[in-house]
Point group: C2
Chain length 354, copies 2
């Protein structure tokens, strides 16, 4: 039996009890709300957890990149939604190759994107399902109005090798009601135009415990971070620190002053993501400590408020601001049960940038 404290640092620990509890709690909430769950694998990047999510009742998975889709399809996942506008012949060829062996659907928010897909997908007997991506307040991708969504849906339907799959949005955190209203408006416009909307898919861990309200306008929910949770989700009220399954194990390597401790986890372990927060993580063993700065390999802690202060050589576990990019920095994660190592697992879809 290996205790996690025997691992070299920095290292990513995944608390299996917490991750499994988070997965089950969300699936139960989705079941109760009557909404399908399609978890986003960008957080864990592991076929192991993707399969667990499906076993628990997820209708399929969400991926953000073709490379992630390829890893998951190779591992046996069979129902994928790629929520990224696929542009260019090379990427479309990869998508086609996937479409020939698994159920994969994608999104589009422009006539250009749809036209490109229509060049590559030409078989009306095996059409590609395409959702219209809608900007319901996030200010990222997506058509700007329900009328524009209808126009694009019609273009998809008019393309022989494509089929209109429905509406897709990633709502701004905390703005689920505005997003639901946008989608409800769109449903009405599609109804009046007599264009069927097969599915409406939304998402976001920050508002995951409002899935019942999202279900008012949507048929499917795509949370990602909920499996591990993180400091930003605690700040958003979606989790407690005790729910956070991913921690970065680090060693105190320097105590240059009474109030300063330096750990061997910097931005290459915790990322620079702030997500509107102050500080770069929550230190479990020294909750009063503030992670005031990160350089690539060093984290700087202000320990002035700590009653007991860390010593050189002490191990600490940090709950990062944002767990998803952390798993993209490590080749492997360590699954633990309690304090005991269960398995060290390669992060299969790490670095699948394209």
């Amino acid at each position: 039996m290996t205790h996690y404290s025997e691992l070299d640092t920095p290292a990513v620990l995944i608390d299996l009890d917490r991750a499994e509890s988070n997965l089950k709690k969300a699936q139960d909430a989705a079941n109760k709300a009557g909404i399908a769950l399609r978890p986003h694998i960008k957080t864990h990047k592991l076929p192991f957890f993707a399969k667990k999510q499906v076993e628990l009742g997820a209708v399929g998975i969400t991926v953000q990149k073709l490379g992630e889709a390829e890893v998951m399809a190779n591992a046996g996942l069979t129902d994928l939604l790629l929520t990224f506008n696929i542009i260019g012949a090379a990427k479309r060829a990869r998508l086609k190759s996937l479409h020939e062996r698994v159920t994969i659907r994608t999104v589009a928010d422009s006539a250009d994107c749809v036209a490109g897909l229509g060049e590559t997908f030409t078989d009306p007997d095996r059409p590609l399902g395409v959702f219209v991506e809608c900007d319901t307040g996030m200010g990222r991708c997506g058509v700007q109005t329900p009328v524009a969504a209808l126009d694009l849906a019609r273009q998809i339907s008019a393309t022989p090798g494509l089929v209109f799959a429905g509406l897709m949005t990633y709502p701004a955190a905390g703005k689920y009601q505005a997003a639901a209203q946008w989608l409800a408006d769109a449903k009405l416009i599609f109804l009046e135009a007599e264009v069927e909307v097969p599915a409406i898919t939304t998402g976001g861990t920050p508002d995951i415990w409002h899935m019942d309200e999202a279900a008012f306008a949507a048929t499917e929910y795509r949370p990602g971070t909920y499996i591990y949770m993180d400091r930003s989700q605690v700040a958003a009220g979606a989790a407690r620190f005790e729910d956070c399954a991913l921690t970065v194990l680090a060693t105190v390597v320097s105590r240059p002053t009474e109030d300063r401790a330096i750990i061997d986890a910097g931005s290459k372990a915790l990322t620079s993501d702030l997500l509107g927060l102050v500080g770069h993580g929550h230190v479990i063993e020294f909750p009063e400590a503030k992670v005031t700065g990160l350089s690539e390999e060093h984290g700087t802690l202000d320990v002035s408020a700590c009653a007991t202060k860390p010593n050189i050589g002490d191990l600490v576990r940090i709950i990062p601001n944002h767990c998803c990019p952390v798993t993209n920095l490590f080749d492997q994660v360590h699954l633990i049960r309690g304090d005991v190592l269960v398995e060290t697992m390669a992060v299969a879809a790490r670095g699948r940038v394209s």
Copy 2:
């Protein structure tokens, strides 16, 4: 011949002419200043460039992690400085294994660190060289005063398997004069105590063109970023955009509004590092564009100030705020000469977190 535009995006391009010019210019400046150059490989993480740096006249290389040292030693680099406090028996065993086959020295800023090294390194006939790390204003690791540096140097010298190698600092950007003064004060204190200081090593690309002034107190300079340069170095006055050798090639995947363009490079390609800057990079083809936001896979551009606006499918090259962590996100980089691909190279020391 492959034009870079044929590459899948996002991708990291390295302009060889620029990188080689940056390397030569810095080596020439070091030669003129009479200071040894020991480049930090954390920026490129490639034995290919480490060897080129040594060929041009570098006395050796700097690494930040044992994993980087192992990659570089395996690739044939023979003189390494590990500028990180090595804590714990497991890491010391790895250091010892390296010490048995290459010249490697390290740093310490505490009695604990020195005592630990002394437990592992016990052979007076092959002692480990240890620099005292000094906090000359950075506020990270390092002893706080020249007197504390002297005390630690004496502890090192009193340990049979260790030898005092000199003083090491990473100065705060723009504070090279204060750092030089700190080191000059320390030299005087060591002189009065009749303790020889074999070497004084400092660094930092932001102040690289003041190496002649650094040479007033130091014998060695350890720049990293200078090989590629980036937007933060342009902001610091250390480079022009035309010197930046590393760019992230991205595709415009969405134009949801007149003023907004979305590219397929987000924080997983450009990192969230701001380094005090506003915005997340410089877009070469659309210099008036502002990279206003990054999510993991999407970059949001405000193109309102652009006379000609990007179209879906356009390729853009982004000079990131901070090039070093970018090479840690990609499994490979593409070396180009002009617009032509020369070689695609695995980032050998990527992800060597420990």
